[in-house]
């Protein structure tokens, strides 16, 4: 049963429909902006990730599933976020491979065409809007001091 046909009003002059579901014109190819995805995950989840390496979408989904904090901003806003993090995040060591499993790692991943992920507050929606054709690169990886929460104020806590 096509519910949209049944319920679509004839022509509403007071308030136009926000979503043109029956719009039959072909979707225009929109150029989506690149984004920076910041995640805080348990060290045990990081596996073989290295800075400046590519990461595939299914690995990002796994990281999102296990993330403790996340934030997705446009690349333009990423500089300000980065600056804030550099000032406030309490990091212990860059050699995270030797860090025991209980540690939490901070990861920044740059994602091409990830515009629809910006500002999302629900992990599922973040995963759903991951572009499947975008290039994803791990830009930064660092270990957060145990129990430290500073710098993470603007992040979404899972």
């Amino acid at each position: 049963m096509d519910w949209r046909k049944l319920l679509s009003p004839k022509k509403n002059v007071e308030e136009p429909r926000k979503i043109q579901l029956s719009d039959s014109s072909p979707p225009r190819q929109k150029v989506l902006k690149p984004v920076a995805l910041y995640l805080v995950v348990p060290a045990s989840e990081v596996g073989n990730l290295r800075e400046n390496n590519q990461i595939n979408v299914s690995d990002i989904e796994k990281l999102i599933d296990n993330s403790l904090y996340f934030l997705c901003t446009s690349l333009e806003n990423a500089d300000a976020t980065q600056q804030h993090l550099q000032q406030h995040l309490e990091l212990t060591t860059k050699i995270f491979i030797t860090v025991s499993e209980q540690r939490e790692l901070y990861i920044r991943i740059n994602i091409n065409n990830g515009e629809e992920m910006i500002g999302k507050k629900v992990p599922y929606i973040l995963k759903r809007n991951l572009p499947h054709d975008g290039q994803c690169i791990v830009k930064e990886l660092a270990c957060i001091r145990y129990l430290s929460v500073s710098g993470l104020e603007k992040f979404n806590r899972v």
Binding site: L6, Q102, Y124
Partner: protein, 831 residues
């Protein structure tokens, strides 16, 4: 250069005694290394406890010579209490209970493992994966079965003696299948609870070398869906003192399912509670890799990966056990071929022939090299042929290695589970009173002269003050971070600030662990904040399954956390989602949401229906999420209780050490088993609300109004009827259909609001526990000092000492009392 010094005879005696003890201990350690027999460990402890009783008797005899008779009643009471406690220790050490609990992920062959341990097929395999209630198997030479009466049971309950394996199987099968068939219809139906008495193989064949009187039992635990079932919950409680075997299905290759299996493993480990060190992980169905061309490489790679994945998953979710998880024991096994191997070797021809057939049908790959020499019909296999097949199945299923590992596991962990509790009880019943009496009495007598008595009374007053001050400061140090947390949370609840309450908890732990002695706790306090991650994960998992179902139009609620919710509630949610999908709430509408306006009756009805279904979704989701959170909170509360116990243990051990520095020779003891017990139970409560509203609105319908007008094409002469649009106000139902994202965000915001309430509950509860601890510590400490004061008063009234006697008799006696106390303390630490 050698420095010489002189010692008197008493010191010499003491030194000799200590030397003897050291030699005995070395010999015992050597003996323990040489032999892995469990009963020797129990015997050694018995020997040590009896030795302590002997030391006390010697001390008793010696001190009696110098004490007036008035001391006798008190001493005799101590002796008789010691005797009583000793006989309990002996009884406990000779007749301990070894409980092996089996649990496992979906289709992991857990019940086949139970049958393998039993050496016969007595637990139904086909239905048990469906969580049909716990089965307890007690070792007994006589075979019997009890199916306990449970509320609403539709199956036959009762006791059957001298029953065959087949009958046990059949009766259990009927009870379980009846439960499974009816539980969806009767949500309150309790699962069947059964006890089998059976001479299981584990005890007969595996040469465990347990103490002779050991009672051995196997608990076959239900899987994940034991929600709200008191019978099962009671069985699971017994697992706190059990060694656990967790089976994992190695044959699963679907990545998504592997992921959910791993989550199931962790859930089960959490349900069992306590340290994962006492759990033996079995990678079952390992035979699947033998079919690979690259076997054994593929098998080895799988084992390596599986161990790493299990450890990672456990590490992530049980951070407080990082060290134990590193040393986790994982073994490989194929339970079914191993069990068939045993069955083939039985003397019952029919039973053996059936097993041969099953082996031929299902494990051809394991015996293909032998099959070439055998007749095609399994009935024609000779005993020799069968033995060859049985041997190959046993070997290739790694049954021997499993048995060896299980024995090692039991040897390593069984004494650790049982002995500390026995010693603790012994100390509470007699040990602590004896050490206190010996040290305090000798000290009191040495201070009994009038002049010293007065000085000591003054000393006691000072000690009381110093202890009070010390305990007060320690209490403040412990309490302060929790009080700060409490204040902050209250501000958040009163909307006076916007602190992130979870951050507040982390800061509180960090503040607490900056100082002595809590810095030693490492990550042990992490459960104080980790519950929140688990809650959110639970909520997200449910929401994700719902969102995906709506967006794709294919309802699939098969995620590990949802398996834990009540089946009936899940099916109600599933029906509701299907109805929503059928009403068109799927695809783009679900993804983006939609502004709705229904203008005719049909549309209005449709909208009403949608609204009702979405409101119902809120209700069903609420119920399911509450169900899931109830399960998660049971696990998380266990972890929080464990963390509080760790914190209190650390606190008490520090208090004891420092209090004894302030008040030496008074034997202050703060037994954790009494004091670190958390008194009241913390519980969480939740309530979510959701839904969307339909507002009565108006809309203007375009109508065509007929008007007579002169038109240019009639040259303004004739009037023509034309129709112009006009707008008429009509009533309508408006609604903004929320998108899945709106729904999810709403729930997450609500969950966040609930968080402050939960943190408030936790902080209040913790403060209450700390207050309670302080009160108990103060009481114990005061009682100890009161008893010392009484002993001093008594000594002052009844003992008259000259200086020589004091020096020659009571100083060595005091040293002996201290050595006696040290020996008692040592038992606890180095048994």
């Amino acid at each position: 250069m050698v420095k010489l010094s002189f010692i008197d005879t008493t010191q010499l005696k003491t030194l000799t005694m200590l030397l003897q003890l050291a030699i005995i201990e070395r010999l015992q350690q050597k003996y323990r290394c040489m032999s892995s027999k469990i009963y020797t460990i129990f015997e050694e402890v018995e020997f040590k406890v009896k030795l302590l009783a002997k030391y006390w008797n010697n001390f008793y005899t010696e001190i009696t010579e110098h004490l007036p008779d008035t001391y006798q009643p008190e001493m005799q009471e101590l002796s008789s209490k010691l005797e009583e406690a000793l006989s309990k220790v002996v009884d406990g050490l000779r007749n301990p209970t070894l409980t092996l609990a089996t649990t496992g992920t979906t289709s992991s062959g857990k019940s086949t493992l139970v049958n393998l341990l039993c050496g016969a097929e007595i637990v139904p395999v086909a239905v048990s994966e469906m969580s049909a209630g716990a089965v307890t198997i007690e070792y007994s030479k006589q075979k019997s079965l009890i199916i306990h009466e449970t509320p609403g049971a539709l199956w036959e309950s009762g006791e059957w003696r001298d029953i065959t394996e087949e009958q046990i199987y059949q009766r259990l099968y009927e009870a379980m299948i009846s439960y499974i068939d009816n539980r969806a219809k009767q949500p309150n139906l309790a699962s069947p609870q059964s006890t089998i008495f059976y001479p299981f193989r584990l005890l007969k064949e595996s040469k465990l070398e347990l103490p002779q009187g050991t009672r051995v039992r196997i608990l076959d635990l239900p899987g994940l869906a034991y929600v709200g079932d008191e019978g099962n919950a009671n069985v699971i409680k017994q697992c706190r003192e059990a060694l656990c075997i967790v089976t994992y299905n190695s044959a699963e290759t679907d990545l998504q399912k592997v992921k959910s299996l791993l989550q199931e493993v962790v859930q089960q480990v959490k349900d069992l509670g306590g340290s994962p060190a006492r759990m033996l992980f079995v990678l079952n169905r390992i035979d699947v890799f033998r079919a690979d061309r690259n076997w054994p490489e593929t098998e080895n790679r799988f084992v390596e990966n599986a161990i790493r994945s299990i450890k990672n998953e456990l590490n992530e979710q049980l951070k407080e056990y990082t060290e134990e998880i590193e040393n986790l024991q994982v073994v490989k096994l194929s339970t079914w071929p191993a069990l068939l191997s045993l069955q083939i070797q039985t003397y019952d021809e029919i039973y053996s022939a059936e097993a041969c057939k099953k082996a031929d049908n299902n494990f051809n790959g394991l015996i293909e090299d032998i099959l070439e020499d055998l007749p095609r019909k399994t009935q024609n296999w000779s005993r020799h042929d069968r033995n060859r097949v049985a041997e190959a199945l046993w070997r290739k299923s790694y049954a021997e290695e499993f048995q060896h590992n299980l024995k090692e596991h039991i040897t390593q962990h069984f004494p650790q589970l049982v002995i500390p509790q026995i010693i603790e009880r012994f100390n509470l019943e007699a040990g602590n009173a004896i050490t206190e009496w010996a040290t305090q009495t000798t000290k009191a007598i040495l201070n009994s002269s009038q002049e010293r008595y007065e000085q000591e009374c003054e000393n006691i007053l000072q000690i009381r003050l110093a202890l009070e001050r010390f305990l007060g400061i320690s209490d403040t140090n412990l309490k302060e971070p929790f009080e700060k947390l409490d204040t902050k949370v209250k501000q958040v609840i009163a909307k006076q600030s916007e602190y992130d309450v979870i951050h507040c908890i982390k800061t509180m732990i960090s503040d607490l662990q900056k100082g002595e002695p809590y810095h030693e706790l490492g990550v042990k306090l992490s459960p104080f904040y980790l519950w929140e991650i688990e809650f959110k994960k639970g909520i997200n998992q449910v929401l994700e399954a719902v969102a995906k179902s709506l967006e794709t139009g294919r309802v699939d609620l098969d995620s590990p956390n949802l398996k834990r919710a009540n089946l009936l509630n899940i099916s109600l949610l599933s029906n509701n989602l299907n109805r929503l999908v059928n009403l068109g709430y799927t695809d783009d509408v679900a993804k983006e949401g939609k502004l709705m306006e229904a203008r005719n009756e049909q549309d209005k009805n449709k909208l009403k229906q949608l609204n009702e279904e979405l409101n119902e979704l809120a209700i069903h989701l609420n119920i399911v999420i509450e169900d899931v959170l109830k399960q998660i909170s049971a696990q998380e509360l266990n972890r929080i209780h464990q963390a509080v116990s760790e914190l209190f243990r650390c606190h008490l051990s520090y208090l004891e050490k420092e209090a004894n520095k302030i008040a030496p020779s008074i034997a202050i003891r703060f037994p954790d088993s009494q004091l670190s017990q958390v008194n009241s139970k913390l519980t969480f409560s939740f309530r979510f609300r959701s839904g969307f509203a339909i507002t009565k609105g108006t809309w203007k319908e375009e109508i065509q109004v007929a008007k007579k007008k002169r038109t240019w094409y009639t040259l303004w002469i004739g009037k023509k009827t034309i129709y112009e649009p006009a707008y008429e106000t009509r009533s309508s139902d408006n609604a903004k259909l929320p998108s899945v994202e709106d729904l999810l965000t709403g729930w997450i915001i609500q969950a966040k609001e609930e968080e402050s309430e939960i943190v408030n509950q936790i902080s209040l509860w913790l403060l209450e526990q700390i207050d309670c601890l302080k009160k108990n510590v103060d009481k114990i400490q005061n009682d100890i000092i009161d008893r010392y004061q009484e002993r001093l008063d008594k000594a002052n009234q009844e003992i008259t000492l000259d200086y020589e006697k004091q020096r020659n008799v009571w100083q060595p006696m005091q040293q002996k009392a201290q050595h006696l106390a040290e020996e008692f303390y040592r038992l606890e630490k180095t048994w």
